[in-house]
Subunit: 275 residues, 4 copies
C-alpha cells in the first residue's frame, strides 16, 4: 500500500475513513466510537463469562459463536485502520496497534493450539479506547483538570513512592530477621511483600507476625502507613485545589491571546494588557 510523504493529502476515501475511525468530532466518528465501545464491552463480558466453568459448560457453544463474531468484526476493523492511516507500519507498531492485533490473534492461534483462547482477555485492554470517548463529551474539561493535577503532583508522588519503596525493603528485611522462615517469612522478597500488604492497610492475613517483637514492629508499620497515607492525598489535594481554582479562568488575552489567567486577574500577566 502507498506510503504517503509528509505534506501529501490522503486519497479522499481514506481521508473519510480516517475521520470516522480515528476522529470523534463528526457525527459518523462519534457513532463509530460509541459502537466500538459497546462491541468491546460485550466481547470482554463474553470472555469473562467464558472463564466461569459452569457457564462455559452450559453456554459454551453460544459463547464460541459470539467470540468468533467479535474476532471477525475486530479483524475487519484492524484492516480498515491499516488502510486509513497515512503510515500503516507506524500504527501497527504503536501500543494501541499491537493491542488491536493481540485482541484478534488468540482466536486464530487457538485453532491449532488448544487453550490459546484464554489470551483473548487482552481484549480488555482495548477498553482503554473508551477514554477517547470522553473527548466527545463535556467531561473533557473535568478530566483535563484531573490530569493537570496528576501531572503537577507527579514529581512529589515519585519521591513519595521511592521513600515507600526503601521503607518496605528496610522493614521487610528486619521482619525476615526477627520472624524467620518458621513463622512464614521465608525470604526477604516475601517479607517485603508482607510489608507492602501491611503498610497499604490491605492486610490479607496470609502472613502475620507471631513473635512479640514482630507484632510491635508490625504495629509501627501500620501506624506509619496510616499516618503517611496523608502524604499522597495532601499532595494531590493541594495540586487539585490549584487546578480547580484555575479551572474557572478561560479568558484569553485579546492582545497576546495567552490563556491561563487567574479569575481575579484584571491585566494579562504576560503582556500587561487589560483583560
Amino acid at each position: 500500500m502507498k506510503i504517503y510523504s509528509q505534506g501529501e493529502p490522503l486519497a479522499p476515501w481514506r481521508e473519510k475513513l480516517h475521520e470516522i475511525i480515528f476522529e470523534a468530532d463528526t457525527p459518523a466518528g462519534k457513532r463509530f466510537d460509541v459502537l466500538l465501545i459497546v462491541a468491546i464491552t460485550l466481547s470482554v463480558i463474553a470472555v469473562m463469562l467464558d472463564s466461569v466453568e459452569v457457564i462455559r459448560f452450559q453456554y459454551g457453544g453460544i459463547l464460541d459463536v459470539i467470540e468468533w463474531f467479535f474476532t471477525i468484526m475486530f479483524a475487519c476493523e484492524y484492516i480498515l485502520r491499516l488502510l486509513s492511516v497515512r503510515n500503516p507500519r507506524l500504527y501497527a507498531l504503536s501500543v494501541l496497534g499491537i493491542v488491536d492485533l493481540m485482541s484478534i490473534l488468540p482466536s486464530f492461534i487457538a485453532l491449532y493450539y488448544v487453550g490459546a483462547e484464554t489470551f483473548l482477555v487482552v481484549r480488555v485492554l482495548r477498553v482503554l479506547r473508551i477514554f477517547r470517548v470522553f473527548k466527545l463529551a463535556e467531561y473533557l474539561g473535568e478530566a483535563n483538570t484531573l490530569m493537570i493535577a496528576l501531572k503537577a503532583s507527579q514529581k512529589k508522588i515519585t519521591i513519595f513512592l521511592y521513600s515507600i519503596f526503601i521503607f518496605v525493603v528496610v522493614f521487610g528485611s528486619v521482619m525476615y530477621l526477627i520472624e524467620g522462615a518458621e513463622n512464614g517469612f521465608t525470604s526477604i522478597p516475601k517479607s517485603v511483600y508482607w510489608a507492602i500488604v501491611t503498610l497499604t492497610t490491605v492486610g490479607y492475613g496470609d502472613m502475620v507476625p507471631q513473635t512479640q517483637i514482630g507484632q510491635m514492629i508490625a504495629a509501627t508499620v501500620m501506624i506509619l502507613g496510616y499516618a503517611i497515607i496523608a502524604v499522597p492525598t495532601g499532595i494531590y489535594s493541594a495540586e487539585l485545589a490549584r487546578a480547580v481554582k484555575s479551572e474557572v479562568s478561560n479568558v484569553a488575552c485579546q492582545n497576546c491571546s495567552e490563556e491561563g489567567h487567574d479569575v481575579d486577574a484584571e491585566y494579562c500577566k504576560y503582556c500587561g494588557a487589560i483583560l
Copy 2:
C-alpha cells in the same frame, strides 16, 4: 377517590393531613416525623433481633406482637398517605411509595407462605426518611454544603470510578492468567473481585496470590490503590473547600466592594467601612 387537577385546592381535611404527614415545618408535622422515625427505628431493631436465632427462640412471641403492631401502624399510615396526596397513583408508584408498601406486605404474605417475613428487612429502607428530619434542624445548611460539593465533584468521581473499573478488569484478567484456578483464581469475574478487594485495601485474605510473579503484581495493585485513594479525596476536598468558602462570605463592602469577609464581621477588613 377524587383526583385533583393542577390548580384546584385539596379538601381542607386532606390539606391538613398532607401538611402533617408530608411537611415538616409545622409543630404537628415535626411531631409526626419524629414519631415516625422512632417507630421505624424500633421496628427495624425488632426485625434485626428476630433474625438472631437465640433471641427468636426465647422472645419469638413478643417479637411477633411487635411486628404486627408496626405492620398495622404502617398500613394505616400508608392509607393516610394515599388519602392526603393530590394524586394517589403518583405517590403509590414513587420510590418512597413502593418502599412504604413493601414494608407492610411481607407480614401479610407470611400468613400464607412461611419465611416471607424475612423480607420485612426492606423496612430499613424507610429509615431513609430520616433525611427529611434534617430539614427541620440547623443541619440543613451543613448537609446542603456537603451535597453541593458532591454534585460539583460528580463528573470527576464518575471519570475516576470508570478508570478504577477498567483498572480492576485488566489486573483481574492478568492475575487469572498468572495464578490460575489452582490458586483460587477460578474465573475472570472472581479475579476481578479479588482486584477490587485488594485495590480498595479491604484485603479479606480469602483469595491471595501464591506465585512470586502474582505477589509482585498484587504489590503493585496495592501501592497503586494506596496512592490513588488520594484522587477522590482530593476531588472532594477541593470542591468542599470551595463550598465551605462560599458558605460564609457573600457580603461585599459597599465602600471598596471587596468580598471574603467573615460572617461575624461588622466592618470591612480592607477599608474599615461598616458592612
Copy 3:
C-alpha cells in the same frame, strides 16, 4: 469536711494543695503533673505486663508489689484531691473523679474476690489526664487548632456517620437475604457487622461472601467505601485549612481588643479601627 460557699476563699493550705494538684501553671504544679503521668504510665505498663501469662508466672511477685505501691500512692492522691477541692462531692461524682476511684478500688476488692484485679486496667483511662500536660507546653495552640476544626466539622461528620449507619444496615440486611446462614451471615446484626468491616476497608476475612451475587454486592460496598472515605477527609481538611489560615492572626485590636482577625486584615472587623 467543710463545704465552701461560692465566693468564700479556701483555707490557705488547701488553696496551695489545689494549685499543685489541679493547676499546671506553677513550677510545683508542673512537677506534680509530670510525676503523675509517669506514675500512671508505669502502673499501666505493670497491669499490661501482668496480663501476659509467661511474665505473670515469672515476675508475679514483683508485679504484685508494684501494683500495691501504685494503688496506695493513687489512694493518697485521691484523698488529697478530695481535701483540696471546694466541693468534694462534685469532684467525687465527676467523670475524672469516678475514674480516679475506679483505678484504686479493684486492688482492694481483689482481696476478697479473686480475679477482680483484672479491672485495674481501667487505670489506663487515667492516662487521659495527659492531655492536661499539653496545656503546659507550646502544643496548646496546635491542639487548639485541631479542636476548632473538629468542632467546626462536627455537624457535617454527624450527618456523614448517620448516612453510613443507614447504609450498613441496608447493605447488611441485603447480604443476610442473599448469603444466608449457610455462608456465615447468620443474622442481620452480624451481617451489619460484616458491612462495617467491609465498608471501612478493615476486611478481617472471618465472614466473606460466597455467592456470585454476594461478591458483586460486596464489591459495590468496597468501592463505595473507598470513594466516600473522601467525605470525612474533605470535611476535616476544609475546616482545618480555615482554622490553620486563621491560626496566624494573633493581633488584638488596640481599640476594642477583639482578636481573631485575618492575617491580611488592615482594619478591625468588629469596630473598624486600624489594626
Copy 4:
C-alpha cells in the same frame, strides 16, 4: 592519620577525594553517586535473592562471588571515606558511618560464624543514601516543599499519634476484658496489637471478636478509625497547601506591591506593571 584543625585546608588529593565522594555538584561527584546507588541496589537485590531458598540452592556460588565483590568494593569505599574526611572519627561514629561499617562486617564475621551473612541485609539501609541523589536533580524543590509541610505538621501529628496511642490502649484493654483468652485476646499487649490492626484498617483477621458485644465495640473502633484517618490527612493537606502556595509566589509588584503572582507571570495581574 593527620587530624585537621578547624580552618586548615585539607591536602589537595584528599580535598579532591572528598569532593567526589561526599559532594554531588561536580560531574565526577555525580558519577560517583550514581555508581554507588547502582552498586547498593545490585548488592541489596543479591542479598534479597540469596534469602530465597530455591535461588540460593541453584545460584549460591554466583551469589557468594557477587557478595564478596560488593563487600570488597564497599570496604575500599569505606577506607576512602575515612581518608577523605577532615575528622575520620567523627565520620566513623556518625549514623551513616556506622551503617557503612555494618554493611561490610557481616561478610567477614561469617567466615568464622556460619549464618552471620544474614545480617548483610543491613546493607539495605545504605539505600538511604539515594536521597542525596535527589540533591542533583530538579526534585530538590519538590522534596523541600514536602519536608516543609511535614515539619510544619509535626506538632499536630504528634498530638494525633498520642491520642491514637491512648485510644488503642483503652480499647485494647476493654476488648481483653470482654473477649478474654478463650477468643484469642490472651493479654492486654496482644489486645492493643489487635486494636492497632483494626483502627488502621489493616484487619489481618488472625484475631477477631467472637462475642456480640465484642463485635459491637470492634465496629465502633472501625468507624472511628475510618473517620479519624481524616485528621492526619487534613493536617498534612492544610500545611502542604500552604507550602505549595508559597512555592510560586514571592515576587511583589514594584508598582502596587501586590503579591501572589504565578512564577511565569511577567506583568502584575492587579495593575499591569512589569514585574
